[in-house]
Amino acid sequence: MSCNEILDMLHDYISNEVSKADAESIHRHLQDCPDCHDMYTQLSEFVTRMRELVKVSAPVHLHERINSLRKADRIK
């Protein structure tokens, strides 16, 4: 695969949306090509950091609200 082909597929590779054969080709290319590896690292670290910062849990009282709703719906 050429660098352009790799860059085209980088987003899908990070999303685990490429075939096993393509994933292996991309993996091999990234080990040998520092420029593509840099692009891959930038994107994957950005996605990981975004996930860490944005992920939140529902407050306890919302869990309670939904549990009450679940019980109330059973007796309708």
Partner: protein, 187 residues
């Protein structure tokens, strides 16, 4: 009160209830308001529980719930006519989205600095500047871990559209955040 429920009903409830945290996170990013996000999640569960008899075991309950939540949000927004037409600014943002490069030109060290300085409020501000359909695609993929096929079902669009929205959405966020850091020089 009748506390006895069928095993199918129990399976259904246990299945849908486990997605509460993800639904709340998505609702909060869509609405940007804690109270509205909680109401959206409640409305989603009310609709889901009412649809129990139409629910077939084996259906992708998670994608189904996220689709209910998003449709509820969009309906409320349409009814309230808070966003009746796109503003000139939003149109310009969409045009900008179509022309951005894949990623900003960073080396390894500047990248580390860039990530270290990122703050929750910056990411949220950047996400909120994305058009809803791009924001939803990025959140469902990168925060919730949905596959492209599942996202296509939540958003009711082809997989190719999902792919394009994720690529462009991520690139736009990276570029915007990087430029904010350069402009405001956060230490």
């Amino acid at each position: 009160m009748n506390s006895e429920i069928s095993s199918d009903r129990k399976l259904f409830e246990d299945e849908v209830i486990q997605y509460l945290n993800g639904l709340y996170c998505y609702a909060l990013n869509l609405s940007r308001n804690e109270e509205e996000a909680q109401d959206l999640v409640q409305e989603t569960y009310e609709r889901a529980l009412k649809s129990y008899r139409q629910y077939r075991l084996g259906t992708n309950a998670r994608a189904w719930l996220f689709a209910i939540l998003r449709n509820t949000f969009l309906n409320i927004r349409r009814q309230a006519q808070k966003n009746p037409v796109k503003t000139r600014f939003e149109e310009q943002e969409e045009i900008a989205l179509a022309t951005i490069p894949v990623t900003p030109p960073l080396g390894t060290d500047p990248q580390k600095e860039f990530l270290r300085k990122l703050l929750v409020k910056d990411i949220k501000n950047a996400l909120n500047r994305l058009p809803e359909e791009f924001k939803s695609a990025v959140i469902l993929c990168d925060i919730e871990g949905f596959s492209y096929k599942e996202i296509a079902s939540v958003l009711s669009v082809p997989i190719g559209t999902v792919r394009s929205r994720i690529h462009r959405g991520r690139a736009y966020l990276q570029k915007m955040l990087y430029e904010w850091q350069k402009r405001y020089g956060r230490k």
